[in-house]
Amino acid sequence: MPVTLVKERFPSKVGEVILGATSEQGGTRTSTVVVGGDNLLPFLHFEGKVVNRPVIAMEVTDIVPPWNEAIKAQFGDVLDNPAAWAQKCVNEFGADLIYLKLIGADPEGFNRSPEDCARVVKEVLAAVGVPLVVVGCENAEKDNEVLAAVAEAGAGENLLLGLAEQDNYKSITAAAMVHKHNVIARSPLDINICKQLNILINEMGLPLNRIVIDPMIGGLGFGIEYAYSIMERARLGALANDKMLSMPMICTVGYEANRSKEANASAEEFPGWGDLAQRGVLWETLTATALLQAGASILLMRNPEAVKLVQRNIADLVDAEVGA
């Protein structure tokens, strides 16, 4: 007996956001990235169209990061040189975007000045042709200064700036509006705050197609199912024409997956867990692939071996034919 597929038709779609600007568009990028635009639940090809494939933003920090050796070793000697590091991510590992974290600005750490941070951004912009995501050091006060300087230094480049949060979104939104950038709106695994923050940012005058949602996530084994369900609700909201939830989503996979003990403890310490290098790759890969299924459009990733696997997964998902 033939089985009829039950197909859902949705009245709306995820909004599209364009990142980066080429020379004709007033920037210096050699290519731009478009995310969002889908009118279906993730990869259910028989219900709609995957308009833009998900992309990978590889993580680069302005100072040498405190990561484990299994990851660091894959980058060789570029970790103290953000421009060279970004180049390696694009040329060798095929990153679609660079996610530059200015952790050196942290007042408790290197306390780098906004000007120094802006200089690093310019160096990375000069070194690669892909669009940039730039976030601060997660100290609200300092980030407001740093990101204002970054927004100005990167004027015309159509950056994705973060992080705007419910109690600190005004400065970054203003900076993005003045210099025509996009903003990451981060909410703490909370769909209601997620929607409210989008409303507040939009009320300041930043158009909805300049906002990307960071729903916050948990890595594999650390609450990923909460992230999954929040993202699913946002996606369903977008498809049901809730304009205040219709933005594409970015997930900080590399950061969350590599915070876990499972991605860092050696095989000597936990013989049952197996080789760390392989385990770390799988931990990040599985976090990423699960969140792709929940509707992630941009994945922040760290481990080049995991990036390779997820690139293959994305290609398979996007090209998948519907089974007969």
Binding site: I199, R233, K243
Partner: protein
């Protein structure tokens, strides 16, 4: 919740006069004002202000002058189907036909026209003999309309069943029957037809109109009301619609939900 603004109706003095004088201003004023209030559709009814034979021309004129100022889809409200067809031919967005009773000849006139113009239809749970007293007979008429949608190829979501609420000050016993009808209509098909009420009817000539409208809207939403022809500029009433959507978990809560319900 779909709000169909009721104000462009020849029964209102300003609209009646505008129709007689071919003055587009009052219609356009209410189109903009109702959209600001939260309307998703504009009901358009010439009422008795225009003689029957002139109605097709009048509906063409109304559709044109409204589309000059508003992007909202129109709900063409008349018992004169030639007038509705004349209006449909000019509608730039899929319209809503208001309305057809469960009478075979009228069904045969209206359903194919709806399909042809990609319009939705409001189906009334009544026939020549009038409005049933109870839910059971209302639902029986609804079933006839559902079967007709199937027969003529109208998507079930494009059929809006109106179980016909009557003024509470003279026909109180209908109010609970209509609620029961709404509940049952949603179970007639899968996907279910949608539901609509001419909400203001419930409070005709009562001194506490606004309170009665608000209360009944909340009650009806809870049992499956999808749309209402109503006063889109009664802010408290629109707030009830927005809040009902939140409490039914149909849209996601945010502190500013009232504001975004009206934003387009």
């Amino acid at each position: 919740m779909i709000i169909i603004g009721e104000r462009i109706n020849g029964m209102f003095k300003d609209i009646g006069e505008a129709l007689r004088n071919k003055d587009p201003k009052p219609l356009q004023h209410w189109a903009v004002k109702q959209e600001e209030g939260g309307a998703h559709y504009l009901d358009v009814n010439s009422g008795p202000a225009v003689p029957t034979e002139e109605r097709p021309e009048a509906y063409k004129w109304m559709v044109n002058v409204l589309q000059e100022v508003s992007k909202l889809p129109l709900c063409l409200d008349s018992t004169n189907y030639d007038a509705i067809q004349a209006g449909l031919e000019l509608c730039q967005r899929p319209a809503l036909i208001n309305s057809v009773p469960a009478e075979r000849a009228k069904i045969e006139r209206v359903f194919p026209m709806a399909v042809q113009f990609n319009a939705s239809v409001i189906g009334l749970t009544m026939d020549k003999k009038g409005i049933p007293k109870d839910a059971e007979n209302r639902v029986a008429f609804a079933m006839e309309l559902v079967a007709a949608a199937d027969e003529f190829g109208l998507n079930m979501e494009d059929l809006f069943i109106d179980p016909l609420i009557l003024p509470v000050n003279v026909a109180q016993e209908h109010a609970p029957e209509v609620l029961e009808s709404l509940r049952q209509v949603k179970m007639l098909a899968n996907p279910a037809p949608r539901t609509v009420l001419g909400l203001s009817n419930v409070s005709q000539k009562s001194p506490d109109r606004h309170l009665i409208n608000r209360t009944y809207l909340a009650m009806a939403m809870a049992v499956g009301l999808d749309a209402a022809i109503m006063d889109a500029n009664d802010d408290d009433l629109v707030d009830v619609a927005a809040t009902g959507q939140i409490l039914l978990n149909k849209s996601i809560y945010a502190d500013s939900y009232l504001k975004v319900f009206r934003a387009r």
